[in-house]
Symmetry: C2
Subunit: 321 residues, 2 copies
């Protein structure tokens, strides 16, 4: 049993292999700074802009690592997943680049812009109800019917190794980082940060930021074991999913703290970023900044990397409208 | 008379002096590309992102050149201007950096976000009606009362030389450009492009893009003399002002063509850019892309620089809301 679990935990060698494998299909995204944000928070913030990533989100890193690591035999049946949006988009993009089918189970409540984009990349959508229970039931049917390779949006070691390439780039782009903060839903990006930083920069603190209204990771972290909500409700729609065993491994071993923000704090931070930094990003990406503004003593005077995870927003349904 | 006019036309030496003078106060803004936009238009588009510029717009280049070129005696009385928004913001920023007062006459209909930002930089606002006539009358009173140095938003040679630094950077950042396109209102940015490109890259074609509903530059270009509208109406609020003699000099001598787009075409291009490129930009900035989409034969197969002029948008009044 011990061996079986260990095979699911990716290593830093897996990260290096992933980075070489996915490099032709992803952007090395820019790092932006803002004098306004630095003065507001008292910290030196370095925004790693995965909203400019292919398919509009960091998730293309993990998706490409999974898709391009498949043998030709397995790849022929395609890939399948369930996702709140960006993983669906990213897996469709990756499958399209390899020329294989991609089956996606998505909540019927997902933003129209994301559904249209999935179809634009050639993804085949089956809709489910917006709960973890429904999602898993509908997915089991699709998976059994197609025989496609299941690429979990975050609990898959190939996906975690792929996401870990983001913080590897960030460490190359910014010197002297003292902390990194990323939003946490299922924990794929945070696990990737843990995997990279615990290997190449173990002195860098790792913070996860979560909506108060979907704070299962926060409560899990405090309790010492996974606590999952079914169907939490937050504007940060990418962060509604619970931790799983592989991401819990990283979160429980390497995260310094998990900080939370209210819906209004998230919306205010999102609007402020659009206004002052002139970038389009999802509500999920605003959670880290919201928690930095809320907890100035934690970050003041520090050089902090902030992962801006994605930019796929339904512009007809902005949260301040 | 000939000599008097010639002293108002800046030279490329003025551009080089301006660039050295303003460098400490501005950003060298990035150039972004988009595979989606290239496939859509059939051209290779290079977006020069002045929406990421200090004070949120290219106008800070001309404003800084004017403010930091003043003698201490003149500077002591401050600077003054009238502006539809971004020049007001930029001059306030520049004056603030030099520690001198900045008096601004703004239309009462200007976006609230712009007024708040002017005040945030320390600018002193006097409101006028949204017409060229009212603007000039109110400004005359403010100017007489304060004795401040008048920095016209675009007809000032110091301003034109400052704006010209943008296309100088673009030519350093992108090899082999065959055309540059920028929005045209009063013609400050387009004149800057003409000044730079006619000196260092005279083979590069220069296009100006204008809203159909504020097409005075288009009609002037076709007629061969300045035609001005009083109070034109367009969503591209930065482009409502008419050409003046100094900008007309450059436009009439060096512009290849002026292309126009409807309000809906501008809004569609703006929303598409936000969705696919994940950048916040003003309606004015969408006019060039709208005209490229509308005139594919002009740009297909060419390497085209697109000036994204600014990102100061009232997020509570987006045109597709």
């Amino acid at each position: 049993m011990k061996d079986a679990i260990e095979t699911h935990i990716p290593t830093y060698d897996d990260v290096l292999a992933a980075h070489a494998r996915i490099a032709p299909y992803i952007h090395r995204t820019p790092v932006l700074t803002s004098q306004f944000m630095n003065e507001l928070t008292g910290a030196d913030l370095f925004f790693k802009c995965e909203n400019f990533q292919k398919a509009g989100a960091f998730k293309v890193r993990g998706a490409c690592n999974a898709v391009f690591g498949l043998s030709d035999d397995v790849a022929a049946k395609g890939v399948a997943t369930h996702s709140s949006g960006n993983h669906a988009l990213s897996l469709s993009y990756a499958a399209g680049r390899r020329g294989i089918p991609c089956h996606v189970v998505m909540p019927r409540t997902a933003p129209e812009a994301k559904k249209a984009a999935v179809r634009g990349y050639g993804g085949i959508i089956t809709e489910c109800e917006p709960s973890t229970t429904s999602r898993e039931a509908v997915f089991a049917e699709v998976h059994a019917r197609t025989g496609a390779d299941f690429v979990h949006p975050y609990n898959d070691p190939r996906v975690i190794a792929g996401q870990a390439t983001c913080s590897r780039e960030l460490m190359e782009q910014v010197e002297g980082l003292e902390a990194v903060i990323a939003p946490i839903g299922g924990g794929g990006m945070v696990s990737g940060c843990c995997l990279t930083l615990s290997n190449i920069a173990p002195h860098v603190k790792i913070y996860a930021a979560e909506p108060e209204q979907a704070d299962d990771a926060y409560r899990s972290f405090k309790a010492g074991h996974i606590i999952a909500d079914d169907a939490p409700n937050t504007i940060a729609d990418g962060l509604k999913v619970p931790l799983k065993e592989n991401t819990w491994h990283f979160v429980s071993h390497h995260v310094t703290d998990i900080l939370t923000a209210s819906e209004q704090e998230i919306i205010d931070a999102m609007k402020l970023t659009w206004e002052r930094m002139k970038i389009v990003m999802e509500p999920s990406c605003a959670v880290p900044l919201a928690t930095i503004i809320k907890n100035p003593d934690v970050f003041r005077g520090k050089r902090v990397g902030v992962i801006v995870t994605g930019g796929n927003v339904d512009l007809d349904k902005l949260p301040w409208m």
